[in-house]
Amino acid sequence: MSDKLSSNKKGSVLVVGGGIGGMQASLDLADSGFKVHMVQKEPSIGGTMVMLDKTFPTGDCSMCMISPKMVEVGRHLNVDIHTLAEVVSVEGEEGNFRAKIRLAPRYVDPAKCTGCGECEAQCPKKVPSEFDQQLGNRKSIYALFPQAVPNTRAIDDRYCLFLTSRKKGAKKDVCKKCEKACKAGAINYDDKGQEIEVNVGSIILAPGLDRYNAKVRGELGLGRWPNVVTSLQFERILSASGPFKGEVKRPSDDKHPKKVAWIQCVGSRDPHNANPWCSSVCCMYATKQSIIAKEHDKHIEPAIFYMDMRAFGKDFDKYVERAKNEYGVRYQRAMVSAIREDPGSGDLVLRYAAEDGSLIDETFEMVVLSIGFEPHKDAAEFAKTFGIEPNVYKFAKTSPLNPVETTRKGVFVTGTYQGPKDIPDTVMQGSAVAGEAMALLSEARGTETIKKELPPEKEVLGEEPRIGVLVCHCGINIASTVQVEQVVEAVKDLPGVVYATNTLYACSQDTQETIKQLVKEKNLNRLVVASCTPRTHEPLFQETIRDAGLNKYLFDLADIREQCSWCHMGHKEEATKKAIRIVKMAIAKSRLQEPIKTDTVGVTPACLIIGGGIAGMTAALSLADQGFQVSIVEKENELGGLVRNLYRTLEGNDVREFLASRIGQVRSHPKIKVFTGTEVRNTDGFVGNFKTTLTDGTEISHGAIILTTGGIEYEPTEYLYKESDRVVTQRELEKKIAAAEVQAGNRYVMIQCVGSREEPNQYCSRICCQDAVKNAIAIKEKDPSAQVFILYRDIRTYGLREDYYKKARELGVIFVRYDVNRKPEVAQSGNGMSVKTWDYMLNRELNIGADWVVLSAGFRPHPTTEKVGALYKVTRNPDGYFLEAHVKLRPVDFPSEGIFVAGLAHAPKNLDETITQALASAGRAGVVLSHDRLAISGIIAKHRKDLCMSCLSCFRVCPFDSPYIGEDGKVAHNEVKCHGCGICAAICPAKAFQVNNFRDDQILAMIDVAVECDTSVAGG
């Protein structure tokens, strides 16, 4: 405590940007005792991800994944969201910054707005929708998208009829329809915006990206030919909630296209016309879009025109193979030089050079340009505001060894502002910057967060139900279709209902006060509100009745808006009948509701890290700096792992020095204990409460686990490796280079993808292209007379690494592509070697004499991965790497809570990515460990041991391993692990499980009411 008082560090963080990276950082921080100020330029948080239809390589719905996260951010007690906001200045230093934020006028008062959207419906001014990429329209008062958070509309003063005319000096009031439509009186045309100042300990930059404007490249016809669209427009076309409702149609004539072409690298890898870097994600999203398009319309024949297929991520190559083999996607390695429209038909003729150089004209019905990423237009200004240095391309300048630190201490960066990357890498960086901020501000943790004081809960068990029912008009959203008064009339005399009434806006602040009054006056012990969806509004009402002293699970919400009035407009009688039915269902359930006591469990503030490589050590240091006790268990006798074989990064950083200093820091940190030459014998327990015994007998109590078991390098069996001392791996070559053992004038032939990207190892090892380029550059720089050939399948120098590929070519490194079906042949020839390979450019065989053949050998999971996986019951993918909880949004978590993963154990990756993921795992673990106690959710399955037959059905089907075999040899249930999905309850032959608030008697009661024969509308 004295620490906290004496420190001048602030316990709050400013997060600039409300995309998925900023959201992840904010949630991690706010969940672990820090106050977060989130600044977002747009009227809603969400960023780029909300615009996407699906995500690769799993095909998950993007909005379905991110929407609950947005709700969580929006509702978080310790996240203040400032939308339509920009930071204008930053002063101070690490631990104590002062930032000025300018809020643009919204013209809608969030305190009064209920988000009903009636204003938008009445607004006459249509504006091309930025969200739908100009393919559809929005209004001038609008929400960015239906699930927007905050759910307060904003008026776009560039278009609003009233505001624009007032600005021009019109004497008479124009329009003002929104003001009239708003029953809550939230419209405020005189909003001037404001400027606020926040005092924070750290700043996280997550401003996201801009996309390359492909109109610059006129030859591709964007903006000229209507059926040439950008990849983001195509996302909106695919989206079921997009402008075409998911139908793949051409903008020009609504025709369903058959032949659709994707053109890759539009605006990327093009230093002359556009950006030199690789945007890292386009190959995969084009693959995804072609698959999804085909799923929407099986007649579509997708073709992807590309230079190198950069499927470098986890399970990406398999995805591409599936696209090829199962969906018939055509991958055409060719550069498209021009597109022209076939007059009349709207079809597009693509001109491209085949690999042999001949020019081909091919007609497509639609063309998608895979546009790349670039920093925001105002990135230079942005960097200046925050006092950080940009790199040459105006991305934030970072180092591979400190991948999320900017040049200004205490200011961190996440997401595409650090360089092009995909969603999981962004989320990882989000958790990583959170981890960094937690470490920096550890002593200020909990100093600025709010905790609500609650009155004691009223005892209602055994009381007869006394239900209050509130039916909401939602302005006219519900009331214009549903006869609200009739609904009240129909339910007011139902058994258990003691009071029923209607209200204009159930969610408004004054109604919350009314509810509290009602609970008291009518002595209610249950509440049913009939309004909108429980997915967004249940927590609000639960909070209200909790404030009134009722257990929050004595509430139920009947959705008569989204699921009734809005989808049955114009059918008043039918909709009213249905609304009555829905409310009766809620009442039937409510009668059977019982208060649910939620438990908490204590947390041991310590972490166990398995694997003492760079990932394990990085995570350990971050957690130890956060103030937690850390134990590293390393199988080998020394720390360092695979990085011990590394000398320099591609960018030139000295890895050995870095490793030595990191080992030194770990060894000397008072909070870190290192166990080398040791393994885990067994672990027991659950999140917050693990107990581990090591092979040396040491027992450790800890609250979280990070698995950083690493990987190994594949030892080649091909290309005469081990048979000739002239055949070496990149790692062995690197060592020779470092030891200056390279002879002048030698010729090197490097072969890529050795042991990668072929069954049974159908995955990219991600680092080998950079390794080859790195060593080739080192050789050429030391000895320009040396010759280097790189035989490759696809060069995958993704992101900003593309620079080095360019540099290698400039230095005279010769790149020759080979095909997997026609692999190079290596033979001994005199004192040296000879390599035969087919050159697709020259269309003939090359026979290259070589002094050295260098094999780019890939990664394999560490052999212990299997054992460790079994020990912690965590799954692995078919290649043997650990499988995270969710490939997009939970890239360092496992489904079992309290266990995290980082580094090569998760998938092949570069050193900077390993460091990032390690920091992320520390951030995620920090969230768990920062709690004194963890709350167990109320919606969980309750197990009745007296009914249980220990048949193991639940044990076998539970995705979270919450049922277990107890010490008495019988099935028991760990409620801490339970997520309340109820699969156990459905399978249990003894009905020994019931899910709180979804009990069978409650569900059956709802069913009975839902399907009982219709009676006429009471009082109607």
């Binding site: 037959m949 032959p989 003894a990 009905k991």
Partner: protein, 232 residues
């Protein structure tokens, strides 16, 4: 554990359709674990019968209940009075339970709702396998712990027939050859030489072939004999 499988509904319907008041009676031990005849399945069958009866326009009252075991009288005797108010008991216990209840319920019929299959292991959720045939004369010590009576389709005693195909039985590629497993297991145990000796024809009288069987614990047998003596 005894493994059962629900009868086709059509068969159940034909059994029950002429009765007015039917109790579907679940047994909450073995057949509940195999998701065939516990109280929960009884509830499902009862519901299906009610739906069918409504479809057919047959007035019928159908209820369900479940008790711990049908094969021990103490479990059902306390409920007997109520059970006897029905016209028919459709028991979803194994055949043992159906027999047992039927013998004790007086003039109310007890019909089977499930087919009793075998006693089996549960290698994974929802999968049940037959490993023992209950022949009354165990020879597992001679066959590496794998029973040729239960797991060879022909119950051969002296090794695999000519039908072994890639380790599978001639009756189906889905069925392992029991003898293949036995030989491989005994090789692993280093006791394959036990299989060189000829097994003589078996005495099947300990199995079902010897007539209905009865096991009586020794001290009970003594008591029974004493009783018999007294009576004579």
């Amino acid at each position: 554990m005894i493994v059962g499988k629900q009868k086709p509904f059509e068969e159940i319907w034909n059994m029950v359709k002429d009765f007015k008041k039917v109790l579907v009676y679940g047994c909450n031990t073995c057949v509940a674990i195999c998701h065939a005849g516990g109280g929960k399945e009884a509830e499902i069958i009862a519901s299906m019968i009610r739906i069918k009866a409504a479809e057919e326009g047959v007035p019928m009252e159908v209820k369900h209940a479940g008790i711990e075991r049908h094969c021990e009288p103490e479990y059902f005797e306390p409920l007997m009075e109520e059970v006897k108010t029905y016209d028919l008991v459709l028991s979803t216990a194994c055949g043992v339970g159906v027999n047992f209840l039927s013998e004790r319920i007086g003039n109310i019929p007890v019909y089977p709702g499930i087919n009793t299959e075998f006693f089996g292991a549960v290698p994974q959720a929802g999968v049940f396998t037959e490993l023992c045939a209950g022949c009354g004369n165990c020879i597992l010590h001679l066959t590496g712990g794998i029973c040729p009576i239960a797991r060879c389709s022909k119950s051969l005693m002296n090794g695999p027939c000519g039908g072994t195909n890639k380790g599978k039985c001639e009756i189906s590629q889905e069925v392992d050859c029991g003898w293949y497993l036995i030989v491989e297991r005994m090789k692993q145990l280093g006791t394959v030489d036990k299989l060189y000796a000829i097994q003589q024809p078996r005495n099947w009288s300990t199995a079902r072939d010897g007539g209905p069987r009865r096991v009586v614990l020794a001290h009970i047998q003594d008591l029974e004999e004493e009783e018999a003596k007294k009576e004579s």
